[in-house]
Symmetry: C2
Subunit: 193 residues, 2 copies
């Protein structure tokens, strides 16, 4: 057990680096940009708080586990802001290599289990993954609304980009959250674009 714990602690110390990965989203008060560690906490709290809005059959425990793990690959691959320009294929390759290295710090059985959860999140096909992915897309617009525009201002985002890159994914996994957000986001774009 002691060898397993030593490997697990190497993984957890490596994970600490996620607190130094900066995202494109600002805190609600606009005081600075968010990091991926605190973002991961916040959306796990979203999952816990908003579980009643998940489609039937979703396991909120598995959703929370996915969200705790979902951004670890950014330690190597960095965060790709949703309205930024990046090559999705290149990003996916970087993230695959990162997953192999970072989950590979764990004992093999646990590495495989965590990797399977991350793969499931990325594939966005199961209801659990779709709800988790919806929350990952639902949080930034709410912080943008709170901070006065945030990444929408930084990237000069237009409504059609928002609909394509964000709204579709929220609506896919959590339709009721999109119904709530839509008029609020639309009002911001109407006033500012």
């Amino acid at each position: 057990m002691s060898d397993r714990l030593t490997a697990q602690m190497a993984f957890l110390n490596e994970a600490c680096k996620l607190k130094s990965v900066t995202r494109g989203t600002q805190l609600c008060d606009g005081s600075r940009y968010e990091n991926s560690g605190e973002h991961s906490w916040h959306i796990a709290l979203y999952a816990l708080t908003l579980s009643e809005h998940a489609p039937e059959g979703v396991s909120i425990h598995r959703v929370i586990q996915m969200l705790l793990l979902h951004d670890l690959v950014e330690i190597d691959a960095g965060d790709a802001p949703i309205f930024g320009d990046h090559d999705p294929a290149e990003m996916a390759e970087l993230e695959q290599a990162a997953a192999t290295r970072i989950f590979g710090l764990l004992p093999p059985d646990q590495a495989a289990a965590f990797r399977a959860l991350w793969d499931e999140f990325e594939a966005n096909e199961t209801p659990d993954a779709q709800f988790a992915k919806s929350l990952d897309r639902f949080q930034p617009p709410n912080q943008n609304l709170a901070s006065g525009g945030g990444s929408w201002v930084d990237y000069d985002t237009q409504w059609d980009q928002f609909e394509t890159r964000v709204a579709a994914k929220i609506a896919n996994g959590a339709p009721s959250l999109w119904d709530w957000l839509r008029p609020r986001a639309a009002a911001w774009f109407k006033a500012n674009r």
Copy 2:
């Protein structure tokens, strides 16, 4: 459902402030002090990763939920560094008022459920709470070891203070984690005190 969601989003936007509460612990690389939002993510990841070291009967799902919520009161009460000087009774009073205000943003049934989880964590009597509290005490020494001393240097901590304020709580809820940490922490204190 829309009114409930509006209340839940007010809670989640308020929770964002936890990312601006600074703790006494430094990141593993010593580059800056940690905030309570990213700390909450990290120890929820500790719980997920170290679940096999929990005493029998512990529900890791409930432990993770407690850890996601455990520091929210610091939005009003601030973080009391473990080796710092503060009046525990005054701190407890501040935290009780904070819990009432912050969980009170939620719909009443959910406010009561979250408050019950937080009360259970604070009381440190159930096996779930004891394991959660152990993880909350287990992470900072590991970050101190990684960063070359961290809060032990800042507060000129002595071994007996560490044993009383930290080790006892880790050993209480997660004896195998304390067995692993003890020789590593002892080596640091022997070399530096």
